[in-house]
């Protein structure tokens, strides 16, 4: 099947308006006859479910947690971008668009990104109207801060809890619709598969995580808004339950999966402390505004620190290697995330890492000398407190230790301009789709994209699809394809339960994560990727022969939940490695060691790789097929990023 991106005609700045002017609508009396299923209740899913409910559609929303308010959007710290230009510093929709395309290393679709920038302003208005307590200045107007990859201050924030406040705004809107009965909420319910009938998505099959019951649900359309798949690495900044299963099941039913190898590694996370570590905690990007990153200049110092014989505060300034300032004098500590992460890895690989060998310093000594402790405390106090709670070290007195960690996945389900997948009637929104961030996401853009998709894109594009479904009667989920998929899901669950092996799910998850981190992580090469594919296949085989899931399937069973997700990660990880192997260039978060300049910088290959790589599932024992959607740049000029 050829990929049709359905980008509307006309000038870039007119495309979205043109689309809305000519799209099909559904009249109010008919809306209540149409059912929409939204899987996921984060920024994208929660906002979509609320907005569609307000319009009058019948919505069913699903979340694996006990409440829609728990979705992992809640953990975003820094802020949300919008092109308001309240600061009069030269911002515009065009500039936000341009920064996003450039920051994504020219691997995103121009028309989608332009629309994102266009609706960004409406998001801020909407959130203010909902009662989101954004930070304000003394005049009572909204405050902004700056973030990486931009020359303007366009980031709106609510303390260090912007994601929380925006999610609670969407949750409030969703709660209102639940109260009105337009949205029916299914908590502690996990999507297990989608149902495709005559080529169209007609519903889902879910598992009730409290009773174990497998149920089918009909929908005239289905939205997948289940976030990213960073947990394939086991250790990441994602929530423990974050998973790629909904996207993966859609892929196996015919939705193409785009750019799976694009993963964002965040440079400033608290390093791993031991083998029982379960997750990694992010320290906000904003810390790089005032902190200086360094590693010891002398290897013997690094060794002495690792042996506990030397403290970092006793290393003289001239013996510290401020490697970002050294390598990138123009941007210094504020280079983009991908560049900063690779530079830290380079130092540690060369033997200059501290603590376990996989950590560098982020030092506020200089900021305290320059600004005073009070100013530093006012800016970063809550982050310093969080750091101290986790590490038991006081960052006012000794430098923070940081190391890069998996944070966000730019890849995801392939969608067209309408956010529709290659399966008609199946849509994907937020981090679950691939659409707006190219090969690297800028800070404060994830919240923007989730809410843009949920509040301002899907309510239009979904309606365009649903207008053609007025004559589709609600289907009986007890029979036909629905019953068949319920049977398949029951069989899958039984297969997992019946392995009755000896090793826990975590054992396999950690083993997979190690391969992914070492060979499909920050730096990749052909030999490593080929090994990774073989190793993943072997782990998968071992999983299906030796996993142990205690208890039964007909009750709450947290190990079964994990096993179901890890079984999918064991397949998704392989596709990521395949995608990384084929993309013989370095772009954004994807760094191929064979493709770098003499100074070790990423080398993009626009002649051969300016495309979206969309994978089609071909069956269990067949190789997936790659489809290419060429990326055409009309407004942006492709240049190599340079931060020196």
């Amino acid at each position: 099947m050829a990929l049709e991106n359905r980008i509307p005609e006309g000038q870039l700045a007119q495309k979205w308006q043109n689309y809305k002017n000519h799209q099909k609508l559904v009249n109010p009396a008919n809306k209540r006859k149409l059912d929409v299923i939204v899987v996921g209740s984060g920024l994208a899913g929660g906002a979509a479910a609320a907005s569609l409910g307000e319009l009058g559609f019948n919505v069913k929303c699903f979340a694996y947690q006990d409440s829609p308010r728990r979705a992992h959007s809640i953990a975003a710290q820094g802020g949300i971008n919008a092109a308001k230009n309240y600061q009069n510093d030269g911002d515009s929709v065009f500039r936000l668009f341009y920064d996003t395309v450039k920051g994504g290393d020219y691997r995103a679709r121009e028309a989608n990104v332009y629309r994102l920038a266009e609706v960004s302003n409406s998001i801020i208005d909407q959130c203010v109207a909902q009662g989101v307590p954004f930070a304000r200045d003394y005049g009572g107007l909204l405050d902004n801060r700056s973030f990486g990859g931009a020359q303007v201050s366009r980031t709106f924030y609510a303390k260090g809890q912007t994601g929380q406040q925006l999610l609670l705004g969407a949750y409030s809107a969703l709660s209102r619709q639940i109260g009105k009965g337009t949205v029916k909420m299914f908590t502690r319910t996990e999507m297990m598969d989608i149902v495709v009938i005559d080529g169209k998505c007609r519903g889902i099959v879910s598992r009730n995580l409290v009773t174990g019951e497998i149920e089918a649900h009909f929908g005239h359309a289905v939205v997948i808004a289940t976030g990213g798949y960073g947990n394939v690495y086991f250790l990441s900044t994602n929530a423990m339950g974050s998973n790629g299963s909904a996207a993966w099941k859609a892929y196996k039913k015919g939705a193409y999966f785009a750019n799976p190898c694009y993963v964002q590694i965040h440079p400033t996370c608290i390093p791993v402390h031991g083998e029982f570590q379960s997750k990694l905690t992010l320290m906000s990007e904003s810390l790089r505004n005032d902190g200086r990153i360094w590693a010891p200049k002398r290897k013997e110092d690094a060794e002495a620190i690792r042996a506990g014989k030397l403290k970092p505060e006793n290393i003289a300034d001239e013996d510290r290697d401020f490697y970002l300032e050294r390598r990138y004098p123009a941007f210094g500590n504020l280079v983009p995330r991908d560049v900063a992460s690779r530079a830290a890895k380079e130092r540690c690989d060369a033997g200059y890492g501290v603590e376990s060998g996989e950590a560098v310093y982020l030092d506020f000594k200089y900021a305290i000398e320059r600004l005073g402790r009070d100013v530093v405390e006012a800016r970063y106090g809550n982050l310093f407190q969080m750091y101290e709670k986790i590490t038991d070290q006081n960052p006012y007195e000794t430098p923070m230790m940081i190391y890069p960690a998996i944070h966000y996945t730019m890849g995801g389900i392939w969608v067209d301009y309408e956010l529709q997948t290659t399966i008609p009637g199946l849509f994907a929104a937020g981090e679950a789709n691939f659409s707006d961030h190219g090969a690297n996401r800028l800070g404060a853009s994830a919240l923007m994209q989730g809410l843009a998709d949920g509040y301002f894109v899907l309510p239009y594009t979904l309606q365009n699809y649903l207008a053609g479904e007025l004559h589709t009667p609600r289907m009986n989920v007890a029979e036909g394809e629905f019953a068949k998929v319920v049977g398949d899901v029951n069989a899958h669950v039984a297969k997992l339960m019946n392995v009755k092996g000896k090793k826990s799910v975590d054992y396999f998850h950690k083993k997979l994560g190690k391969v992914m981190w070492e060979k499909v992580g920050m730096a990749r090469n052909e030999a490593g990727l080929k090994e990774a594919i073989e190793e993943i296949v072997a782990i998968r085989k071992e999983f299906w022969a030796d996993v142990r899931i205690p208890g039964s399937a007909n009750e709450m069973n947290t190990e079964l939940e994990k096993a179901n997700r890890v079984a999918d990660f064991l397949e998704l990880g392989e596709l990521m490695a395949r995608d990384a192997l084929i993309r013989e260039e370095s772009c954004g978060g994807h760094f191929r060691e064979e493709h770098q300049t003499e100074e070790g910088e990423a080398k993009r290959d626009d002649a051969n790789f300016a495309y979206v790589g969309a994978w089609e599932y071909k069956g269990e024992n067949a190789e997936p097929e790659l489809h290419k959607e060429p990326l055409v740049f009309e407004e942006c000029k492709l240049v190599q990023r340079n931060y020196k």
Binding site: A129, G308, T558
Partner: protein
């Protein structure tokens, strides 16, 4: 950090197969726990051990493991979220315990939060309270510019403090009356402090309080146990504000 002594602990954990099961404490031991582990990582070690022994792991709620989603709960040695201050259970670290300690781990216990399994309780009552008033009645689109209504920094900051509630339920679990007043008042306050939410403040307060009562949560008798155990430092001043909103609304009836 590696030089610190690892911990050997005895755990008394509440096990309850289902809502109808009576439930009882089981005693387990774990050893070689790093003081730098989080409490939930210690629970992971226990579960790994149980799975290896062919037993069912302990079910507990958790998700973000960075103190913001509100999913983790646990009543540890008589404290909601354990003995450390201003943290959720997932942010509690094992350096707060000594080797040889016995740690008692229970679920939230409250009429409003029935136990589902082991340490997992059903907190959907909070969602039900939210659905009757925890919002500003605006639809998507057609709203004024974000800067059209200036809001004083003080009001915005105060609203933000109230809005930092993570809905974990520690307030209910630590209240002798099982009251949800801190939770309800945080949302009522946040929205009443802002001009956008002020318009329906009275209606909101009445509806949310009525729902809270209907769902079996107790009354507030100002013991402030909720505030003391709240991982996000939500203040009981919010309860005073809720009472004011509620009284004004009732007087107008």
């Amino acid at each position: 950090m590696s030089e610190k002594q690892s911990l050997n602990l005895t755990l008394k954990v509440w096990r309850q197969k289902s809502p109808k099961d009576k439930g009882q404490f089981e005693t387990y031991s774990v050893s070689n726990i790093s003081p730098d582990s989080s409490f939930l990582e210690m629970m992971d070690v226990l579960n790994e051990q149980l799975i290896t022994e062919g037993k069912e792991p302990v079910a507990f709620d958790h998700d973000c493991r960075e103190g913001i989603c509100g999913m983790c709960s646990l009543y540890i040695n008589g404290h909601a979220h354990g003995p450390d201050e201003d943290v959720t259970t997932c942010q509690l670290h094992m350096r707060k315990f000594k080797t040889g300690d016995t740690i008692t781990i229970e679920p939230w216990r409250s009429a409003g939060f029935p136990v589902i399994k082991d340490l997992i309780v059903d907190r959907r009552a909070f969602d039900k309270i939210m659905a009757v008033g925890g919002f500003v009645s605006v639809n998507t689109g057609g709203v004024p510019d974000g800067n059209a209504i200036p809001i004083s920094k003080a009001a915005a900051d105060e609203a933000m403090d109230a809005a930092s509630c993570i809905g974990c339920g520690a307030c209910v679990a630590s209240c002798k009356n099982g009251s949800a007043m801190l939770f309800v008042s945080a949302k009522v306050s946040q929205l009443a402090l802002l001009p956008q939410g002020r318009i329906e403040a009275a209606r909101r307060a009445k509806n949310m309080v009525a729902k809270m009562d209907e769902l079996g949560f107790g009354n507030c008798t100002n013991t402030a146990a909720c505030e003391a155990q709240c991982p996000k430092n939500v203040s009981i001043a919010n309860i005073a504000r809720l009472n004011r909103e509620f009284l004004c609304a009732k007087l107008k009836d």
